[in-house]
């Protein structure tokens, strides 16, 4: 009985019996289907098996690369990467499926099935292999998340680094005399408003190597900023300044909550020969404390980010500007309707189009790397790279705008007796201005966005800074850069969309 459904093709009779088809598919997956005259399905199965088997062999060889002997390689590969078991099992299931499918298809009077299950199994095998080759490890997203949190927090809220408090050392001192004389040397004066030091005794002798320790001075400090560390320094009679050391470490004291401290210091060795310090000299014991002066100011990182952001915007702007300048004339020789009148111009047209397509197909980042080789690091390299890419992209878009110009409007203006300039300004420019403006703004948008990353390869702008900050793990500063990029691009998106809407 004939089927009444005209749309479905009648099933072609299989060339072989189901058993033979199954055996054929067992020998070469897909062969059975081909013999059963579902050739396309057979070919798909065959191609899929060859591809996935090839991939499996490659992965096994990669995993077991350090071993010799194919048996060892295989066993080690499976041990090292148990995921290969899953792939292998899936492939075996698919293999069996293909045999069964060959048998069912080759049965006389079998309905032509869609083989959805077969396709699903093949896709599953490839999916598993893709998972393995891509080293997909969803666990990595969560496993070390707690370690990433501090860095990410800094990136997301970096403003602590945007401001800084200028600090400077305030030095207070007391003078001591060496050696002691008959006249008493005055000690320091207590003061009411400023920090001061008082030494006791007020005179003494320096230490001498392998002979004796110097005089021990008892020093009290008052009116210092509580909690801020104070460094103790000496200044000898020759105005040389040096840290006071205790067992090789600098002496640092922290004033108590009243801003006071008491310490004992032994007068250090001279730095000059005793002969040079003949007579009565005075030395200073200094207390230097780091204190903040003035209010909060923008940090160097913030200033740098602002400067580089401005540089970035100008890289994008200059590239767009140069791109327009070059693209406008080029677009005319890349417009088919203007170049189709003679074989020579057609050759030029195809040549220009081909060059533009090649330039456009290479990413600006790659152009930037090349530009850095030519002109060195810095914004100029970025401008060059973006200009080149803009030229190609804009020339293509402009020329398409010229191609779609309505010749009827030109005819109509010509018919009024207008001259060439009037035709251009009345009939051509009104037609190409809106698409030109639209494409230009679109390109400007792209260029600013590209200029933020072009610095990663040395093309200047904020990307340069961002790359460096990320490399030295300064996530706060990097965060500032990221914020600036995001804000600039968002503003630009908004503005360009707005302008384009008005023109188009």
């Amino acid at each position: 009985m004939q089927s009444r459904r005209v749309i479905s093709k009648p099933q072609k009779e299989s060339l072989v019996s189901p058993i033979i088809a199954a055996i054929a598919s067992a020998l070469i997956p897909g062969l059975g289907q081909i013999l059963a005259r579902v050739v396309n399905r057979g070919l798909i199965i065959l191609a899929s098996f060859i591809t996935s088997a090839g991939l499996l062999i490659w992965r096994i060889a990669t995993e077991g690369a350090r071993y010799t002997g194919w048996k060892t390689i295989i066993s080690k590969a499976y041990k090292l990467n148990p995921f290969l078991y899953l792939i292998t099992i899936l492939m075996i299931v698919t293999y069996i499926y293909a045999i069964v499918d060959a048998y069912l298809t080759a049965r006389p009077g079998a309905k032509k099935s869609k083989a959805v299950g077969m396709i699903f199994m093949i896709i599953l095998v490839f999916f598993a292999q893709g998972w393995e080759i891509g080293q997909i490890d969803l666990g990595a997203l969560v496993r070390d998340a707690d370690e990433a949190v501090p860095a990410l927090t800094k990136v997301m809220w970096p403003w602590a680094k945007a401001i800084s408090h200028p600090e400077e050392f305030r030095t207070s001192y007391v003078e001591v005399q060496t050696p002691c004389t008959d006249v008493a040397f005055p000690s320091g004066e207590p003061k009411t408003d400023e920090p001061y030091l008082i030494a006791d005794p007020t005179c003494g002798v320096p230490s001498e190597v392998e002979v004796s320790l110097g005089t021990e001075f008892h020093v009290i400090g008052r009116n210092f900023v509580p909690g801020n560390e104070v460094e103790i320094w000496w200044k000898d009679s020759a105005n040389r300044e040096f840290h006071h050391r205790v067992d090789g470490d600098y002496l640092i004291v922290t004033p108590d909550k009243n801003g006071s401290f008491d310490i004992s210091v032994i007068m250090p060795y001279r730095t000059l020969t005793p002969a040079a310090e003949e007579g009565v000299k005075t030395w200073q014991i200094q207390a230097r404390q780091l204190i903040s002066v003035g209010g909060a100011v923008a940090s160097d990182e913030l200033k740098l980010a602002v400067e580089k952001m401005i540089e970035t915007i100008f890289i994008g702007m200059m590239a767009t500007f140069f791109g327009i300048l070059l693209a406008v004339p080029v677009s005319f020789i890349a417009a088919r309707n203007l170049m189709s009148h003679s074989p020579v111009t057609m050759v030029i047209y195809y040549l220009v189009r081909t060059i533009l397509n090649i330039i456009r197909s290479i990413e600006p980042l790659i152009w930037a790397i090349i530009a850095v080789i030519v002109v060195g690091l810095g914004p100029f390299a970025g401008i060059l790279a973006l200009t080149l890419h803009s030229l190609a992209a804009l020339a293509k878009l402009y020329s398409e705008a010229i191609e779609s110009i309505d010749s009827g409007q030109i005819e109509a203006i010509q018919a009024t007796g207008a001259n060439w300039f009037q035709v251009i300004s009345f009939a051509v420019i009104p037609q190409i201005i809106p698409p030109f403006v639209s494409f230009t703004i679109y390109r400007w948008d792209i260029n600013i966005r590209m200029s933020t990353v072009i610095g990663f390869v040395g093309g200047g702008g904020i990307g340069y800074l961002l790359a460096q900050w990320i490399r030295i793990l300064d996530y706060r500063s990097a965060g500032i850069a990221v914020w600036f990029i995001a804000i600039t691009v968002a503003i630009l998106d908004f503005v360009s969309a707005d302008i384009r809407e008005k023109f188009v």
């Binding site: 409007q409 005819e411 109509a412 010509q414 009024t416 007796g417 207008a418 037609q431």
Partner: protein
């Protein structure tokens, strides 16, 4: 008086659009050119104002051979020939008024016109033309916001701004519905009657041809196959019409004409 003598146009690809076409158009005539698409109507009209350069032949207008003119002389001649188009060919993104003023380009200095500056007289003239064609309300709209009929009025206004002596109308109503077709052709008829402009118009509805034409030229494959006066046209039967047109010939519909004629 416009005399077309042995006009031939061969396109670079070898297509012969016009073959030895000769006819005369006396002053003040409403000449209708009929013929199938591809019969050479558009080419003929465009040869007259030299949007297309004829290969051979003469176009004598008031004793001057238009086919020989170049540069400034050609532009001066074009100013006196207004043209209206099937697709209106307005500058779509410009305002209606700017479109109309572009009719004065041939009379305006290059630099001021490029800056969109026209003389006071020209602007006043523009306002009068706008008023005459009843599109005052649309003056400041963008040209492409207007309906088809209104756009063709702007096209006519632009041609009128040239202070033309001759109007070439290339299928002016082919993109319009019958009511608008009559309205546009009546406007052309008024210009023909009141202002004494010579009109050469290509059409392809028999009833429109009979209603408006004061004489007819029929083209087929680039050759003149019919030449008739107003009376001949009035008497023309559908059969004769179909000889020129083939089976495609049709009428717009008399009933609609009746409504408009009131």
């Amino acid at each position: 008086m416009l005399q077309i003598k042995n006009l031939t146009k061969v396109y670079p690809d070898g297509t012969v659009a016009l073959k030895n076409v000769s006819f005369e158009v006396p002053e003040g005539e409403f000449l209708i050119v009929i013929g199938l698409s591809g019969s050479g109507k558009s080419t003929l009209l465009r040869c007259i104002n030299r949007l297309i350069d004829p290969t051979e032949g003469q176009i004598l207008w008031n004793g001057v051979d238009l086919s020989k003119l170049e540069g400034e002389e050609l532009r001066k001649a074009r100013r006196k020939i207004g043209m209206i188009f099937q697709n209106f060919n307005l500058i779509k993104r410009s305002s209606v008024f700017s479109n109309i003023m572009s009719g004065r380009l041939g009379y305006t200095q290059t630099l001021p016109s490029m800056l969109g500056r026209f003389t006071k007289e020209d602007i006043d003239m523009g306002k009068n033309v706008v008023e005459r064609l009843g599109i005052t309300d649309q003056m400041h709209k963008r040209a492409d916001e207007l309906s088809g009929g209104q756009q063709q009025r702007v096209g006519i206004a632009r041609a009128l701004m040239q202070e033309p002596e001759l109007i070439l109308a290339d299928e002016p109503v082919a993109s319009l519905d019958p009511v608008l077709a009559h309205s546009i052709l009546k406007t052309l008829e008024t210009l023909n009657h009141e202002d004494g402009l010579t009109v050469i118009c290509s059409l392809h509805y028999l009833d429109l041809v009979q209603r408006y034409g004061s004489s007819v030229v029929g083209l087929r494959e680039g050759e003149v196959v019919y030449r008739g006066s107003r009376e001949d046209v009035r008497k023309m039967t559908d059969e004769q019409f179909k000889e020129i047109y083939g089976a495609e010939a049709e009428r717009v519909g008399a009933s609609i004409e009746g409504v408009v004629q009131e």
